[in-house]
Each structure stands twice: as C-alpha cells, then as structure tokens.
Amino acid sequence: MDGNYIALFVTLVIWVGIFLFLNSLDKRVKKLEKHQ
C-alpha cells in the first residue's frame, strides 16, 4: 500500500506542476497577443 501512496503523491505533484506551467504560459501568451 505504501508504494501506492508514493506513486499518488508523485503523480499529483507532476500534475500540479504541469497545470501551473500551462496557466502561466496561457497568461503570457494572452499578454503578448494584446500587444499585437
């Protein structure tokens, strides 16, 4: 069971990381598009 919790934690961290990255990218792209 412990192995599962580690995998769960790692996967969650990866997902949060991906989401935050995509969000910041989204904001930066929006800003650049406004300047055009």
Binding site: N4, L8, L12, W15, L25, V29
Partner: protein, 219 residues
C-alpha cells in the same frame, strides 16, 4: 476560467482515486492502475493524428499558414503522447507479461504511429522553403493517415503468434469495468482530452505569435 478549475480539480481527483480505489484488474494487480493513464494517452495520440490530418487538408485547400501551424502543433503533441503511451504501455507489459515489447497489434500500431510522426518531422526539417515545407508535410500527413484503417483492420489478423496480451486486456476491461472503475476511467479520458485541447490551443497561439513577431508577417 471555470473549465480550468474543473480540469484541475477533476484530474487531481482522478489521480487520487486511481490510487486509492482497488486495482481495476485483480489478476494483474496494482500495475493495472496504469490503464487510467495509458489508454487516454494512446487515445490522444490517435486524436492528434486525426487532427493533424484534418488541418493538413485545410491547409492544402486554403494555403493559409495558420492551418499549417495547427497541423504541426497537433503532430508535435501527437508525437509526445505517442511516446508517453509507448513508455507506459511498455512498463505495463513488462510488469504483467515479463517483456517490454511483444509486437502485438496495439503495440505494433503505436510503433508505426511513432514512425509516422518521426517521418513527418524529418520531412519538415528537410525542406527549407516555408510554403513547400507546409505543402509537402501536409500531403504526407494525409497520405500516412490513409494507411491507418489498414493498421486497425489488417494487423490484428496478421499476428503470426497468438499472443493473448490483447485479449486479456479487452476481456478484462469488459469484465472488471465495475461502476467505480468506469467513472474514473471515463473521467480520465475526458479530462485528458480537455487538457490536450488546451495545450494544443496554446501551442497554436505560440506558433502564430512566433511567426508574427519573428517574421513580421501576418497570418
């Protein structure tokens, strides 16, 4: 934006439940949890290919560069998800059946898909003139897509050795798709698709901006 919230919370929930609930397939055990991720990734790899084909056709018809950007973005993401699907599938195969690669129909198809994506980008890399690059890779994307029905229908019948791999997966997916498994699985499928579409949208906008800013051309 509300859908982002749903996406974040939803996929987080899927992740949590994919590990907390009992493993979807008892015989294979804990490793079967990878279903929740591997199959959606493979699905997106194929969806991306279809999208690349559609945008390629649109480019050939209209010659508008935005379509080429979209085709290329779809292909790039398709390549990424193909690699992820292949890796996750390989790990699962190793744990369940003892070997990383067996050339069963599904593995073979994803391998060919990888080769197609690789060829697509090799072609793009080899053409210097922008318009030519877009046209040639668009033609190749469509032409390669035409072979997909053959992959789907012919390859399964041509397997030289009767590997039980796939029948095990399929039979068991039917078997153990109890209510909780189904919810998690289909949620994963839907949310992965939403995530992919978001990344696709971002990739296209970045590509369009790049073209506008660096090359000072309008699309």
């Amino acid at each position: 934006m509300w859908w982002k919230v749903i996406l974040f919370v939803g996929l987080a929930a899927v992740i949590v439940f994919s590990f907390i609930t009992p493993a979807p397939q008892q015989v294979i055990g804990e490793a079967s949890r990878i279903f929740y991720y591997h199959i959606p990734m493979a699905w997106i790899a194929v969806l991306a290919f279809a999208m690349a084909m559609v945008y390629s056709v649109r480019y050939l018809r209209s010659k508008k560069f935005i379509e080429d950007i979209r085709a290329r973005s779809a292909a790039a993401l398709g390549l990424l998800f193909s690699i992820l699907a292949t890796i996750s599938g390989s790990i699962f195969a190793k744990i369940s059946w003892g070997s990383f690669w067996n050339w069963d129909p599904r593995e073979t198809s994803i391998f060919i898909l990888l080769l197609i994506y690789g060829a697509y980008f090799a072609l793009r890399g080899a053409v210097a003139v922008e318009e030519k690059r877009a046209s040639l890779s668009a033609v190749y994307a469509v032409f390669a897509f035409v072979t997909v029905p053959f992959l789907v229908f012919v390859v399964p019948r041509m397997a030289p050795s009767l590997h039980p791999n796939d029948s095990v997966i399929d039979a068991d997916l039917q078997f153990t798709m109890g209510a909780s498994v189904r919810i998690i699985f289909f949620s994963s499928l839907a949310l992965f698709t939403v995530m992919y579409l978001w990344i696709f949208n971002l990739t296209c906008r970045v590509g369009a901006l790049y073209r506008k800013i660096i090359e000072e051309e309008d699309i």
